[in-house]
Each structure stands twice: as C-alpha cells, then as structure tokens.
Symmetry: C2
Subunit: 132 residues, 2 copies
DNA sequence: ATACATGCAAACGGTTTGCAGAATA
DNA sequence: TATTCTGCAAACCGTTTGCATGTAT
C-alpha cells in the first residue's frame, strides 16, 4: 500500500468523526480540503482500509453502508428519530456464545446485530409511544 | 386490496417454499406458471404483502432482500458455504430485553440479528477451519 | 364506473469498474 | 522504472416508479 494524500484524508475523516459516516458523507467532508477528490477514490479507500482492518465497514440493510474508526467489537443503534447511528453502551451478550455452540447441526461463526430505537436526545422530544 | 392471479402466485410461492427467496427467485418460480408476469409486479406484491404483515421482508446487508412466509419472530443464519438462508433453531435471547431496558439514555425498540456460519450440510463438507 | 393491478421500460441510489494519466517508491 | 493510485465516466445491481392499459369489484 502506497501513500496518498487522498487516503490519508479519508482515514483521518473517519477517525476524527465518530459519527459512522457513509461514503457520501466522507466524500463531502474530504472535499473541503481536497476539492478534486472523486467519489470513486473515497469508496476505493474506504473499502481498502476496511479490508486491512484499519477501519470497519458497517453494512446497513436498505441503506448506505457506514464506516467506523472503532474496530473493537461493539454494538450500534440506529435512531428512528434522527436517523443517526450511535454506539450502544451494551456489554457483550452474555450466554449467547454458549447457546450458539450447542445448536444442532449449524456452526455459527459470527453475527451482526443492529438495534433500533431512540437516542437520548430524541427520546426526550418524542412522547411515550414511539413510532417508526 | 383487490384480487389478482399474480399476487396469489407470489404469495403461494413464498409460502410453499421456505427457502427465503429473493424477489428474483420468486420471479423465476412464478414465471413457470405465469410467464408474462413482470419483475415489477413481483416486487410490488412482495412489498405489499410484507406491509400487510402477511409475509416478512428480510433486509440483507449487501445483498438482495429475502422474503419469508413465517411471520413469527425467529432468527436466520446465512451459510457461508452455500449462501442459503436458514431458520436458526435458537430460543429467544434470554436476558437481552432486560439489558436493553437499563441502557442509559437510549430507548431500544427492536433489533435485527443475522447469524453467519455453516449449515449442517456444509459443516460436513468443510474442514475444521472455516473461511469467509 | 371506478378503483386498483398489471406489463413495460425508464429511472433510481448506492457502489464498482475500466481506463488513461499522475504520483509514489 | 515499476507499481500503485487517481479522476472521470460509464457500468452495474437491486429496486422503484410513471404511464397507458387491463381487470376485479
């Protein structure tokens, strides 16, 4: 892997903005410092950095993938109010690995969870009953 | 909702084939009985039936959505070997709801899990170490 | 008659890719 | 110089949509 200014900016942007940006968001942000960067380059670098394990790609069902500077295992929650993606301060799911080992037939190697709900800020704004 | 032969076939196909087919697969299957049906109609009906809760749409990260005739809560596992999606015979995740209620700030309303691993058949074929 | 559904094809959004030229090592 | 990278634009894939026509109520 050879150095490039573009890649440095892409990485820096994801690292310094823990907002789990989409490729498009990264593109917009990097463009402020490097107006000629192309969206393709942003994608290429994000994917490359994710492959190397330097950052993480969070595939989102029915939405743009997001990228995360944190590479340690942790959960995410999408806020139905503002649409943002947050880290969820939830401990490892206890007992799950246990259950998974004892499944007849299947060999589970991993899983992805995406939580849905309201972030602290939106939980305040919305009434008791929550909608989509 | 008005009756249509096309919708009936789409529903029937999903119900009778518990393989969690994609829209494309449903299209191919229905076409054998109704060669003139269009892919758009298949999509429209699958979405409509899912909205009504008659069947379930399973959004798949970085892949085509799948549809499920089973509407009761249960988990799925994607086999890394053959790519098929299976029901996972796993009990409700115990204690998770507990943990979720006590999260500071966040109000969790739901979650989706997708497991990854090897199905019984593929688990036999592959050696001990498993890859992607 | 009036909804609602269909087939078709075009449009869409997110992402990837082929290419010729530019930058790094 | 050899390799990797870039910008650009076109291609791609899964899905949705507009429209004129057809069908169920």
């Amino acid at each position: 892997m050879k150095y490039s200014k573009q890649r440095e900016l892409v990485l820096e942007t994801v690292m310094e903005n823990p907002i789990h940006p989409t490729a498009d968001t990264v593109y917009a942000m990097v463009r402020e410092q490097e107006p000629n960067i192309s969206l393709g380059t942003v994608y290429r670098n994000l994917n490359l950095l994710a492959e190397q394990g330097i950052l993480r790609k969070i595939p989102m069902p029915a939405a743009s993938d997001r990228f995360d500077g944190r590479t340690d295992p942790h959960y995410h929650i999408r806020c139905s109010g503002c649409g943002q993606l947050f880290d969820l301060p939830l401990a490892e799911l206890a007992g799950l690995d246990e259950q998974l080992k004892n499944l007849p037939g299947f060999l589970v190697t991993g899983y992805q969870i995406l939580f849905e709900g309201l972030c602290p800020e939106c939980a305040g704004k919305y009434p008791a009953e929550l909608k989509r």
